[in-house]
Amino acid sequence: MTDILKPDKMPQVEEAVRWALTHGKALEVLGAGSKRAIGRPAQTDLTLDLSGLTGMLLYEPDELVLSARAGTPLAEIEAMVAASGQELAFEPMSFGALLGAPSGGPTIGGVIAANVSGPRRFKAGAARDHLLGFTAVSGRGEVFKSGGRVVKNVTGYDLCKLMAGSWGTLAVLLDITIKILPRPEMELTVLLFGLDDGAAVRAMTAALASNCDVSGAAHLPAIVAARVPSIATAASNRAVTALRLEGVAPGVAHRRAMLERAVAATTVAATDVAATDVAACGEGGAIEGSASRELWRAIRDVEPFAAAHTGADRPLWRVSIAPSKSAALALAVSGGVSGSGDAQVLYDWGGGLLLILPPPFGDGGAALVRSALAAAGGTFPASGSFAAASGTSAATGFIAGGHATLIRAPAALRAAVDVFQPQEPVLAALTKRVKESFDPKGVLNPGRMWAGV
């Protein structure tokens, strides 16, 4: 029996889902397959490959809107909007380098389904914030739509948010409409060298709390920075903290000066902070243009932890956490100084995102990362009523102040440990009901996120 269905007409998707429903089969929903190795290994009977459903449906640069078939390659969309001086402002990362995925890159449907984002997350949002509307086939085999082609829209539930990050478990996307934004005229990245993790997070916090409109804030410990060609030489075996400014030239120049003052005040322990500049806290510098773009692409795609550097089987975690807690979490995972021992960490989103290569434990570091997250991120709530009312003990560690996803691991490990953050019972039950409201028979990617969902 053939095991891949590749529709080239829209109604065939509906047909395939209805067939699966009738025959009690499960479908693996696939775009280009660039993120196929993320999630629990799926137990499916057939693969539904959407990469044949391609094509641009609408692009109106003045209206900042684009519609395309879900199987359209992201690269094609990016090239088209770039020709009009525009971009997808959420800077979707590519998992190619991390996962050794097939060439050609992701489809736009896959980018939405995984709620992909990039270093601009804290300023511009993720895929969820840019999806304006969609058409999809539910697990009930019904075509439905939500949203529209305008930014301001509160007509009915915002199912766009639900589609983003559902990993193909609720519905098969057919068409998507996204927001497009102007590409900044120029970018410049201020580099700070030699900060330890705690000082780096403080510097990034000061940068993000300033009115410099920073659009990227990342910290690469020395061993990590050494693997990024655009900064390796300048870093010369020191850690690099990078702060990106984008906009029109006069604005960027003005904000650079402001930013250097704001950051200097936090990185210099000395009493006389007002008169210092970046040079005083070690050595600083700045890169522009293609060097800056190269750096942020490397950070976005987590190139320092690419299969080529670490091995394709080395477990990698992606942790979202309150920025001020990130250094403590990294410290707990590395058991000392990050980047010096077996664990390696990359900070993005001003500390709000950690990419963690834990020490080589049998569970891929699951226990270590999740307990460190619970300890550093804290468990909710402050009020006792929550635990009492929900019947959940905060001490179970379920309700962490963040979430950790095992973004890369061999299939056997992904089957053995929770890939997505475990949920407390009330949330888990609600999640299951939501899944069933779209896909009552478990036809679409069953079990990819959690067992039984």
Binding site: N211, P323, G377, P440
Partner: protein, 497 residues
């Protein structure tokens, strides 16, 4: 009231005394209001054409009380209507005769201000403006700024996914909320999100935003705060043709400039506002744009010059750049007072809220003028031009027989027009009861059924705010059935590999 609401449940109404007594046991003191006189302020929200006294009003103070109330109502099959400040313009908080009105006004404390993580944790009854006021001493603010921000609450903002004049650049509520505590109709409490980004599973927080109080009751909200831009300047640009004003907005955005806000007013709105505020608006133009640029001084000056030259290319006849903060605020004062200004020239007005693709503006304005003649009612337009959100104000007199009905029919025609040109029924005011029966203009039965199935996942008995958003109520069991058509075919047409 011509609007059909769910039939009151006689069995529930018969038990009213017992229900009030039980609620008093959960919320002691003055937190339960049962007299007709005292319940009167709750009989309507900002959509005052519709009024209904609730069965009882309850004002809880803690999450545990909310949980107990909902648990009790769930067990007893009693409907619940949540309410924030009651500023909804779509009747989202319209009570039900056999329903408990759950007022969240006592949840009015800010629980935490965390500058390091740039968030504020607030109870849902805190007003939108209070969030900004709590952090402005440190140079921060909360970006979404609905016109009702003095009165409207954060909880209500979440329910309606409220916007404001700065959405184009800074997003609506959903883009600025990081977490919430939510009580389900069963009384179960859960947390979604926190101080970190993105959901740890399905983005249920994203669904709660804009769910109009139909999915759960929010008891705490974590919002992002932003640093105030260094400076802001506004340009006041007048056009003899509204087509040129519309084109100018497209040119500005097409040139890569995303202003903090772009507002447009048509001739009737300009005249009403100028007569009221004396902001110095030109009176001999068909359309007026207010373009606000924010950021560092050097950047704002640079962009202001570019916008000015684009405006001239688009045949603007007047263009003034604010030279001081005082002048910037004056430019805005007229726009911000547009609704009360229109209120001065008409006994009543009906505020609409459709969104259209921006390029369709000239067409929509022209058709609206025709509709104005057809219905014999005047209309003034204010418009969040950057994001295509239109607020036509239909002028009428409620005391003139038939005028309210005519205003409503005119309003429906405008919203249908918005959908026809590729837009939507509501940009920021919500569906509520007002646009409920227009939903089929935009959605198929399958679209609406899927939305209602999601509602069932949160509220299987349909007790939370029923009668809002959906034109037809279906039982969850009925919606849940799977009917497969044509599934037996083994898709001979689909390419296989």
């Amino acid at each position: 009231m011509a609007l059909a609401m769910p039939e009151p449940d006689g069995a529930v109404l018969e038990r009213r005394d017992r229900i009030v007594e039980r609620l008093r046991a959960i919320v002691p003191g003055e937190g339960v209001i049962a007299s007709v006189q005292a319940m009167r302020p709750y009989e309507c929200d900002g959509l005052t054409a519709y009024r209904q006294l609730p069965m009882v009003v309850v004002l809880p103070e803690t999450t545990a009380q909310v949980s107990s109330i909902l648990q009790y109502c769930y067990a007893e099959g009693i409907k619940v209507v949540p309410r924030g400040a009651g500023t909804s313009l779509s009747g989202g908080a319209l009570p039900l005769a056999d329903g408990v009105l759950l007022g969240m006004a006592k949840f009015n404390r800010i629980r935490e201000i965390d500058f390091d993580n740039r968030v504020v944790v607030a109870e849902p009854g805190v007003t939108n403006l209070k969030v900004t006021q709590a952090v402005e001493h440190a140079g921060f603010y909360y970006a979404p700024d609905p016109s009702s921000q003095i009165a409207c609450t954060i909880g209500g903002n979440v329910a309606e996914n409220s916007g404001g004049v700065h959405c184009l650049k800074y997003g609506t509520t959903t883009n600025n909320v990081l977490g919430c505590e939510l009580v389900l109709m069963t009384g179960e409490v859960l947390r979604l999100g926190g101080k970190h980004f993105d959901s740890e599973g399905y983005d249920l927080l994203g669904v709660i935003n804009g769910s109009e109080g139909l999915l759960g009751v929010v008891t705490e909200v974590t919002v992002r705060i932003l640093r105030k831009p260094e400076t802001a300047r506004a340009l006041l640009v007048g056009f003899p043709y509204s087509e040129d004003a519309g084109a100018c907005v497209g040119r500005i955005i097409g040139a890569g400039i995303i202003p903090g806000g772009i507002e447009m007013m048509d001739r009737p709105a300009i005249h009403a506002a100028e007569a009221f505020i004396h902001a110095g608006y030109p009176l001999d133009v068909e359309a007026l744009l207010i373009v606000e640029l924010d950021g560092p001084q050097a950047e704002v000056d640079h962009l202001a010059a570019r916008v000015e030259s684009l405006a001239k290319e688009c045949r603007a006849v007047t263009c003034r750049v604010s030279a001081s903060e005082q002048e910037r605020l004056l430019f805005w004062a007229g726009r911000k007072a547009a609704f009360p200004a229109v209120g001065r020239i008409s006994p009543d007005y009906y505020c609409m809220d459709g969104t259209i693709p921006r390029a369709k503006l000239p067409l929509v304005l022209r058709r609206m003028r025709e509709l104005s003649q057809t219905y014999g009612l005047r209309v003034a337009n204010v418009f969040h031009a950057g994001d295509g959100n239109l607020h036509p104000l239909i002028l009428y007199d409620a005391n003139a027989p038939g005028e309210l009905e005519r205003a409503e029919a005119f309003g429906s025609a405008i919203l249908k027009l918005c959908v026809e040109v590729g837009g939507v029924l509501t940009g920021e005011h919500g569906v509520g009861v007002e646009k409920r029966d227009l939903m089929p203009e935009m959605f198929t039965e399958a679209d609406l059924a899927q939305q209602q199935r999601l509602k069932c996942a949160f509220d299987d008995k349909g007790l939370l705010n029923p009668g809002k958003v959906f034109p037809t109520l279906h039982r969850c069991a009925e919606l849940g059935r799977v009917h497969v058509h044509g599934g037996a075919m083994a898709f001979p047409e689909i390419p296989r590999f």
